[in-house]
């Protein structure tokens, strides 16, 4: 996968490096903004409220 991307990126070593960093940064931003906030709701230590299990009030 990484080999394929490396060959795909334009330019010399510098161009390829820049593209790699850019792509990595993009992936991290997407993870932080969209993926992790969703995933963390599945973690147990987010549940700090008491509720009857009917979903109200929402656990957090």
């Amino acid at each position: 996968m990484y080999g394929f991307l490396w060959r795909l990126f334009p330019g010399g070593v510098v161009g390829k490096l820049l593209c790699s960093l850019l792509l990595a940064a993009l992936v991290v931003v997407l993870l932080f903004l969209y993926v992790f906030p969703q995933v963390e709701q599945l973690l147990p230590f987010q549940d700090v409220t008491v509720d009857s299990g009917t979903g109200a009030p929402a656990g957090g």
Binding site: M1, Y2, V28, L31, F32, F36, V39, E40, Q41, L43, P44, F45, Q46, D47, V48, T49, V50, D51, S52, G53, P57, A58, G59, G60
Partner: protein, 230 residues
């Protein structure tokens, strides 16, 4: 050097890269939980605190009744001090209205519909034990008699811890105006703090119940519980 050997090598290389990538993503998620969530909450707390103090600085609205009524979900309601566990230099925690995921990311959340500070009944506040600033991280260190101070526009409410208990996640009875009795008419002024227990788990809930001891006008200065003289 056979074609089959090349295919196996390519497959193994791909598998290895995938596993390393997944490992890095998991590490990144750990970093997000233990570091980034705290940064987020600290920013939100500072913003909410500024808004709240700005609102308090303005003359009280002319509308009758307690000014606290009608606090919008996710906005600041009051400030909370727990002298036993607050670190030197810590700011008060801004309690937000609401206990949804987004509300609790900002700070400890007040159950909508539960009593407001100083009122007869039960003020119920939930907060994160870990991540998102972990406002209630050390709640287990509270002992009977410890102060929990709530600051509103005009008043310092000093509550004293009367009970610490571990209950099932479904134990909603601790949030009733009279804990444990849904129909009883409340006479006491209680404050209940809830958080998850043990840390990083959701097996049970840690519940702190406190009862109002004093209500001091803010014009009279900080209450003894905060100045260290009691």
């Amino acid at each position: 050097m056979s074609g089959a050997g090349d295919a196996v090598r390519a497959f193994l290389r791909g598998l290895g890269q995938t596993l390393i990538t997944l490992g890095l993503v998991v590490l990144l998620f750990c970093g997000y939980e233990v570091y980034f969530t705290n940064v987020y909450t600290s920013k939100e707390q500072s913003r909410l605190g500024d808004d709240l103090r700005e609102q308090w600085a303005e003359p009280a609205a002319d509308k009758p009744g307690p000014v606290l009524v009608g606090t919008a979900l996710g906005t600041g309601l009051a400030e909370l001090w727990i002298p036993r566990v607050d670190m030197v230099g810590d700011q008060a925690k801004v309690v937000v209205e609401g206990v949804g995921h987004e509300d609790l990311k900002r700070g400890p959340g007040h159950y909508p519909g539960s009593a407001l500070p100083g009122q007869v009944g039960n003020v119920v506040v939930s907060g994160h034990r870990t991540t998102y600033g972990a406002p209630f991280n050390r709640l287990d260190e509270l002992r009977v008699g410890d102060a929990v101070v709530v600051e509103t526009r005009d008043t310092w409410f000093t509550y004293r811890v009367v009970r610490q208990q571990i209950v099932a996640p479904t134990a909603v009875e601790v949030t009733y105006p009279v804990p444990g009795d849904k129909t009883a008419k409340p006479v006491k002024k209680l404050l209940t703090l809830t958080t998850c227990n043990p840390k990083y788990s959701a097996k049970t809930r840690l519940i702190i119940t406190a009862e109002l001891q004093t209500a001091l006008a803010k014009s009279a200065g900080e209450p003894p519980a905060l100045t260290g003289s009691a």
